[in-house]
Symmetry: C2
Subunit: 305 residues, 2 copies
């Protein structure tokens, strides 16, 4: 490492190491935070340099019901959680992707992720752009759609793109982020099965979730890390069985490591800049984009062009 300017040297390192912390919701916010800290420390001990927590990691998935009381769970950014985790990032010299329920002015709230650099500084914020509203996933009730657009964060170790859960279904999101230079896309996530439909749809749902993200990694020639929660969270309507299975894949769509469906796990995976470069030179997709011909993407289906 270059002592005087470690960041530049590290950005040119032949590889960088991704850490994923997959957990059950804790019994309280402080319990969840403690669990996250343990996971981050474990990932760092295993060599992780950029560590991502799951979506809304500090709470149970409260969007199962419409309850205005839940807005009390939100916090400002910066705020107490980012302060604690900034100190940890600085101490461990790791980059952190911290998904939070963000409180903004005027009773506006976002489903966000804060990126903290390895010196503890907040680099910026991604606010979830695509907001779902499905049975037991009532996010449109809670979250104002993101207003910061797609972003990339130049961290000490790599150029990092962050998208959140439902964003994963939108190739526009991964592409727009990759076009900003992302070397890796993180998807903090809270996806699971509704028990009543698992038998019929469960296999297809999980297959779709993996397939679409592997596709993003291939078409954008990036590493991709999906960080999902695990465990069953009950609700009046029956609850959600979060399916875990957090994974990292490479730009060929190969899953390099994947967590189990049901256990808390920390995954650490090396991402190679040589692989990125080789993939992009062998199949130079970015060379051949038809930027003259993509205006249709700015429209809805059935809309006059």
């Amino acid at each position: 490492m270059n002592e005087e300017n470690p960041s530049i040297t590290d950005r040119q390192a032949p590889s960088f190491h991704l850490g994923l912390v997959q957990a059950r919701a804790g019994s309280s916010a402080s319990a969840s935070l403690e669990k996250a800290i343990s996971g981050i420390e474990a990932a760092a001990r295993s060599g992780a340099q950029i560590i991502c927590l799951q979506e809304l990691f500090i709470h149970p998935y409260f969007c199962q019901s419409h309850d205005p009381q839940h807005f009390d769970l939100a916090e400002s950014i910066p705020g107490p959680t980012t302060e604690t985790l900034s100190q940890l990032a600085r101490k461990l010299e790791v980059v952190l992707v911290v998904p939070l329920f963000e409180k903004r002015e005027g009773e506006q709230y976002h489903n966000s992720a804060c990126v903290i650099d390895a010196d503890g500084e907040i680099l910026g914020l991604y606010r979830k752009m695509h907001i779902p509203e499905d049975p037991q996933f009532h996010e449109k009730f809670y979250f104002t759609p993101g207003d910061l657009g797609f972003q990339v964060f130049q961290t000490r170790y790599a150029k990092v793109g962050v998208l959140i859960c439902w964003d994963q279904w939108f190739p526009e999101a991964s592409r727009a982020t990759a076009l900003l230079g992302a070397e890796v896309l993180f998807y903090p996530t809270a996806i699971g099965w509704l028990p009543e439909e698992k038998d019929e749809y469960g296999e297809g749902q999980k297959r779709s979730w993996e397939a679409v993200q592997l596709g993003h990694a291939v078409s954008n020639q990036v590493y991709l890390a999906a960080v999902n929660r695990t465990g069953f969270e009950a609700s009046e309507k029956g609850g959600i069985e979060f399916w875990g299975s957090s994974f990292v894949c490479d730009p060929t769509g190969k899953i390099l490591k994947q967590a189990s469906e049901t256990e808390e796990e920390v995954i650490v995976v090396e991402a190679s800049r040589e692989v990125l470069k080789e993939q992009r030179r062998t199949w130079p997709f970015y060379r051949d984009r038809r930027v003259d011909a993509y205006k249709g993407l700015l429209h809805h289906m059935g809309e006059d062009r």
Copy 2:
């Protein structure tokens, strides 16, 4: 079937049947055409209603070398091949997707696909938008990039999108076509291994090819049919081993049927409108697109916005 207006009735049918003809290049253009006709007849006998041939099906993959003589292989559309196949389409009452080396005015050429409706009428043309130029895939030498944009064809049996081979790597292409209302995307293709790199890269290349297309099916909630050639075609530089493996997948990213790597095969698969509807209602991705936020897609990486 409604005798007076069969097309409207068929468009509302609960399903439509896709046919894929995977073949080796014939020893001559007429031999390839005969082979294609046999394949189409076999597919129709098995119930196929929309049948797709592989990319540049009437020739060996001549793009392995730069040879201006090869421009003599091109033909006009309409032309002799489409006339023959229009008659066949009318006789069998099938829709045909016919990939051709298209001759245009002024020594301009395209890698195109002509869509012929079940009454034998030419519905239109797709001209390959993304043109590769890789070792032994010298398409930029032969083909003017498509100037017709992305398109969908309302055939008797379904709304059909056509993209060609290298287009498969571009999520913009599948999305733009799906936004026009495609129920199925066809990808006539000529992809294979270079023998000298197969050991090192072959597995990853084929995995990427499948993964990216499964991803398109999931994110766009369409059926997807990739129709690849098979067989080894020699050239001075060592040749290409086309990997076959033509497949149809459903909107959950499940491969419903797949041909072998090495044999000529005809595949017929039923595509269900109920599945399309259910997938789109269960996970309403199209509802949540952020058309206000996709302008970055009209730029290259590193370009000022």
